[in-house]
Symmetry: C2
Subunit: 145 residues, 2 copies
């Protein structure tokens, strides 16, 4: 056991980073049936909840900037799940909203969380603690920059 902070095994950041990628890989299979990538699925989840959001609001919800969202939203529009239109009151904004198809996709998506829950080895308590700790970290890292 060695306390050198430059060892990979002593890094907290590494398992977070590696877990995030493994989770995205695990989502690949259930999401491929919906023709969605993981990030596209996150955007759809926000819209299933609210139906209509500006690009800026989506970025705030998902901690993503327009450089990521703009091309991604164009792909979702090409698939027919959303539409993008300039807001008439403020022409700087683009409003993203669900199409009928995008809304209907929600029902097919209900299988996804079930599929993923089956892959997790965590107890309810472990999952809750993990959730709280991650949000604590997330708020601090994002808040003060």
């Amino acid at each position: 056991m060695c306390g050198d902070p430059l060892l990979l095994k002593n890094q907290l950041c590494f398992p977070i980073y590696a877990c995030a990628r493994e989770i995205i890989k695990a989502y690949h299979e259930p999401l491929s049936k919906l023709d969605l990538t993981y990030t596209q699925y996150l955007v759809m989840m926000v819209l299933w909840e609210e139906r209509e959001k500006s690009v800026r609001e989506l970025g705030e919800c998902l901690y993503l900037d327009s450089g990521t969202l703009t091309p991604l939203l164009k792909k979702l529009e090409a698939k027919g799940y959303i539409v993008r239109e300039r807001c008439t009151e403020d022409e700087r904004c683009v409003i993203v909203s669900l199409t009928t198809e995008g809304d209907a996709l929600r029902e097919k998506a209900r299988a996804v969380p079930r599929c993923m829950a089956a892959k997790s080895p965590l107890t309810q308590e472990e999952a809750e603690t993990l959730y709280k700790t991650l949000y604590k970290l997330l708020h601090v890292l994002h808040g003060e920059s």
Copy 2:
């Protein structure tokens, strides 16, 4: 409070994904002084520990495949931190090893974990629990696929 598993706030995967990205962003500043990206830093950490690894071994340590590692290693080689050479006993393998410069970089890198530790709001106990839970998740997600 709503238990719908399709709500973003009820997802455990999302804070993991968002945290991972915020952490990489937070590393940007200290690592820019070493002319390294976060993933390049992970590779260097493995080599500072072992000095010599094949591409396959690096991939196993970091959960990365050759499609990611090959171009990244070429960049590290161009910077002069590593060399890549075919293994003579088994020509299928490429051995990656530190140059003198790459080894010397380790001393400059000691500031990085200090800088990052200062940004974390977690207690020692929270960090340890987080670490253990993430590795539990990581091993299961990576092991059975």
